[in-house]
Symmetry: C2
């Protein structure tokens, strides 16, 4: 086995989840990630912990979704029971074909997401992490060989997370203290929002691996202006490109995309909160130096900003404060490397990708 | 996909488990059985049922077992919770290397089995079935090409189970009415036992697929004599050959094997009930025409008898009757095709593989 797989397992089990002998651990993995599953079992055994592995296979899910009447979805009691009894959840992405569910009706996916919401809500109350195994389908989507993609993944994942945490802390402090954020890029994006009173969070190795962003939550109803997401978004096996959104009083009032506008519309119509923002994030993991059509990496990329439609991240929202609620949380990315700036309370904190604390 | 995989899935879901829309179904599978997992998801979706797939990978288990201190095993709460909430459990065997756990200490396997006993006890109260996917490791063990082995598996599994049930019912009736059984083979096996008052059961497509046996449970303390199991037994990745046991007052008082006697001894010493019999079975699936080192098939083979050390099968034991209890249930096979006979109450009911009701 590639020794970097064992390092990856140790980063997940030790750095991210701090697993101990008393923990019941759920691993959720596709079969293509078998090496990482083996390495995780080895490390969990060394610690005396207790794994249960759920097989998350997109080919099987596709067959199930296509056969299933959307009206028949209901809460899966066995899955909820397992999740409730778990202490730690490690979710592994990886695919031999990232378009495997591209011929499933979006309504079917949405119906299933709604039925499983209690499973999702239970999981996010646990210690959890989502990561990526370097599978051929993901490499292909990134237009890389599987070998080069593995280098990319392990460079982003197996690193000094303490040093990265300190670097990001400087941006987190600006978000923590700031009130009004303005994001400008070319003549297509000029968006303002209030983050007054919201917490800034430092993503340096807990729920996402790779980690590498500073993030907060906009105040609902404060978002105004236009944004063009110039990095594509892969959703339900299809590619949404050049998504543009216009916000008034915090809600999307106009939208467009280069294709699959129906998919964008279905996403925006999921529920009441799907037209408002739940996150503002600033990518700061510079080992992620290219776009790979994988949000887990793309949103951490240096010189980018991302915004998420849907559910607000609870950790950023002080008790007693209102934030957006939705069954979805869909991240979309703006390239900030050229002709771009982030302002906080009128001060430029990032210009063309360079932070004010780096000058 | 081979159309026989979909037939296999339908036999499991419809014939064996009679799944309906209200069912929460747990599928337990190795990654090598991915085709069958996909076919099961499709059929479960058509019925509106709710699958949860647990990934049972021998390579990952080996890594876990070797890293784990046996003292750290305890009941896995997440696995138990999922099992308790399930209605149906479909377990799929299949391996790329049947010796994958051969370098795990038998004590580790035993410690894990003891810790998981409540999971086992919960599962057997559900509707459950165990089956086999034609994987390369199992084909190799059977000394067959993977293609020829697939023919063998599907011939044994995808058949007219109603006709098979009627054929077996004749033997079940003899077991139901009989009191004293004597099994004689060559000069190495001459064993007597009482089955008085125990039920005879017809295995024709419920808990095992392939099915194909008539079985009952001996009265504890009634078993006397010697038996040589001339078909090998694969246990914990190792092969036990020529196991011989001597019974007095229902308990094993002497034992031997061609090799791995330590493994046989560890099995017999698992607990108090591990030295007594929990099953007498008569193989009647004649599509299973060769020995393949896989108990699920071997014990159903025509012209064989099998005996199990350990836990008695509850369905055969009338309320208020005592039967053997143990954490293990280990089947072992006697070839009855030559110089052999089964007697019930002094009448020969099978001679050299031919039943009295076939003459």
């Amino acid at each position: 086995m590639d020794p970097r797989v064992r390092e990856h397992a140790a980063v997940l089990v030790d750095d991210c989840m701090d697993v101990a002998a008393e923990d019941d651990v759920i691993v959720i993995a596709p079969s293509v990630a078998d090496d990482l599953v083996v390495a995780l079992h080895e490390r969990l055994g060394e610690l005396g912990a207790h794994p249960l592995t759920l097989w998350n296979d997109s080919t099987a899910l596709r067959a199930y979704f296509r056969a299933m009447d959307p009206a028949d979805f209901r809460l899966p009691e066995h899955e909820l029971a397992a999740m409730e009894a778990a202490d730690v959840v490690i979710m592994i992405g990886g695919s031999e074909n990232v378009a495997e569910t591209s011929d499933v009706a979006p309504e079917t996916m949405s119906a299933r997401s709604r039925a499983r919401e209690p499973v999702f809500n239970t999981r996010v109350e646990k210690r959890w992490v989502i990561t990526q195994h370097p599978a051929p389908g993901n490499a292909q989507k990134a237009e890389m060989s599987t070998d080069a993609y593995a280098d990319f993944v392990y460079d982003a994942v197996n690193k000094d997370w303490e040093a990265q945490r300190e670097f990001q802390a400087q941006m987190v402090q600006l978000l923590e203290e700031g009130e009004e954020v303005r994001i400008v890029s070319g003549d297509t994006t000029d968006l303002t929002m209030s983050i007054a009173g919201m917490h800034g969070e430092n993503d340096a190795g807990t729920a996402n691996m790779p980690a590498g962003e500073a993030f907060t939550v906009p105040r609902p109803e404060s978002v105004e202006g236009e944004v063009l997401f110039d990095k594509p978004l892969l959703r339900q096996g299809r590619e949404l490109t050049d998504v543009s959104l216009t916000f008034e009083d915090g809600r999307v009032v106009d939208y467009d995309a280069a294709e699959h506008v129906d998919l964008l519309e279905a996403t925006l119509d999921t529920d009441e909160g799907a037209r408002s923002l739940g996150e503002l994030g600033i990518g700061m993991n510079r080992d992620i130096d290219r776009f790979t059509y994988n949000m887990l990496f793309d949103e951490k990329m240096g010189d980018t900003v991302h915004l998420a439609l849907g559910d607000a991240i609870d950790d950023c929202v002080p008790e007693g404060t209102t934030a957006n609620e939705s069954a979805i949380h869909v991240d979309m990315i703006v390239d900030m490397s050229e002709d771009s700036r982030i302002e906080i309370d009128g001060e430029v904190v990032q210009q063309n990708g360079t932070f004010v604390f780096e000058q």
